[in-house]
Symmetry: C2
Subunit: 319 residues, 2 copies
């Protein structure tokens, strides 16, 4: 099997396993585009995907997630770990929509040989955002990347799913009116392992911290862990050291109690269910069934037949 | 079949068809909770679901969508139409997270007999947010509600799906730096039939309008319609009349060219595909298969077997 510039799938797999970022890029494109080779690829590299630690950074737009990510990457790089960033946030500077200061920081990161950055489109990704993001993370892991950071915007369901694909989830908020309440309503309270109040030199930071503490008291600690609430000013590189430490503490905590295994097992379970779902759909929708439905659309639209009736007919149709 | 307080499914269906909002509420709860009766319910009322016009109001958090919705409702009420609001936005005042001024406006709306408001949880909704939102809209339509407004926050995939379930989609932005670019990246440019720049007394409103116009020039008009860009200050009830007019103009436009039928046909097609998907999954996951996968999780987790291999085994398993 050959690709443009005569690179075979075998070469791509070998390249990924040897940690060659240029071939890792190729591999990721195969997966993102849902090409048939991607299944073989993911199957082959699966044995090497267990060693990375995955961190989700999520929160509302404008909370400064990308700045935190870029600062955090440097901390991981100090201990010479390879770091991967997967930006699943359409408003992220990593995805291209940057103001100048951000762009300079991004460029710095991109010049670093131990850092691999990839942004993902949130629309039209084949087979679901969460599935693809996890597959991209697997490829990074197989290429020897030890720390993988997902940057996601914490509003939609898809984004929350990606955050839940992480071992440690950091929720970033800013001290603005109602932000903490919105976080709660958007389901961010339940998924946070660590809270960060960014731009904490602004008015209301301490008030927000107290609000969050009160909300957290109302819920039981998850797996024996109470989410710390950290303040930082990512722009000025303040408080990132504490965030780095708490991520490491959370990792230790998860590893001690066997919780990490349990979490990852649940994640794999969900992934397999999703793969099955996609396969079931592909098999069901033969050309004949698609044509049949298309021909009936007018009857459904004019209420001569109900969707439920059409579904029964499709199900009894022989291909 | 009986429910608490001795209300049968038949009574609920009859109540919906007679436009009784109390029974409509009951019906919506059945659907939201995914109870088995909901299929019969939706099948029975389907014949009466074709007459409502559906409007999506979407945009980033904080753009003032709820204020616009509450103002807009009054315009529709002037012509004595019944109006339904479905808030699929976790940060919406309609969902409970309101500041005082908002809450007063909401209460006013809720006291109006011709207005029916329902907020939907965005997390954990059975069978997908978009599917449920459309079913709720169908119930409203069957109860004689002529205008249905979806309020969604325009960031996640699920929210965009709901917006695409509308006949007319209004994208609300505020004149803040980068908002228009973010809208483009989040896919809002493609789905907008009408743009509203809210809080247009703020700096940058005119600049934003020009930016949007330039972006729109780069794309082909969709079905012969070029999205107008309206300015408003919803708080002060300014510009809502023009928005109301443009929504009506867009409806006229869609009806003239048969475009409305085409759009609705596509929407029904997508819905039927989703119903099929849910059914396929329900049928596949027997207790035996679920148990089988559970027992293999340890092997998958420790990379002794790949997800692809387990999937093959599940597929050949006889129930």
């Amino acid at each position: 099997m050959t690709f443009s510039k005569n690179i075979s799938l075998e070469e791509i797999i070998q390249g990924v396993e040897e940690g060659k970022f240029r071939l890792l890029s190729r591999a990721i494109s195969l997966v993102e585009n849902g090409l048939p080779e991607s299944e073989t690829l993911l199957d082959q590299i699966y044995k090497n995907t267990g060693k990375s630690y995955r961190i989700g950074i999520t929160g509302p737009p404008g909370a400064g997630k990308s700045t935190i990510v870029s600062r955090l990457v440097k901390w991981f790089r100090k201990s010479d770990q390879k770091v991967g960033v997967i930006a699943v946030d359409p408003t992220s500077p990593f995805s291209g929509g940057a103001v100048l200061g951000d762009r300079i920081r991004m460029t710095e990161l991109m010049m670093d040989e131990g850092t691999f950055i990839r942004s993902m489109a949130t629309r039209g990704s084949l087979g679901g955002l969460s599935k693809t993001a996890q597959e991209v993370a697997d490829l990074m892991a197989a290429a020897g990347i030890e720390t993988i950071i997902f940057e996601t915007v914490g509003v939609g369901q898809g984004e929350l799913d990606v955050a839940q694909a992480s071992d440690t989830t950091v929720v970033v908020l800013v001290p603005e009116s109602g932000d903490s309440i919105q976080a709660m309503k958007a389901g961010l309270m339940e998924i946070a392992d660590i809270f960060v109040i960014n731009k904490s030199d602004r008015d209301g930071a301490e008030k927000m911290k107290i609000e969050l503490e009160m909300m957290l008291q109302l819920r039981l600690p998850k797996d024996g862990w109470s989410p710390p609430i950290l303040k930082c000013i990512a722009q000025d590189n303040m408080g990132i050291d504490a965030l780095f430490e708490h991520i490491n503490m959370h990792e230790e905590h998860l590893k001690k109690g066997g919780i990490l295994q349990k979490k990852r097992s649940q994640r794999l379970f969900d992934r397999i269910q999703e793969m099955i779902r996609l396969d079931l759909e592909n098999k069901f929708w033969s050309q004949k069934k698609t044509d049949y439905l298309n021909n009936k659309m007018d009857d459904i639209l004019h209420r001569r037949i109900t969707p439920q009736q059409i579904i029964s007919e499709l199900q009894s149709l022989k291909d």
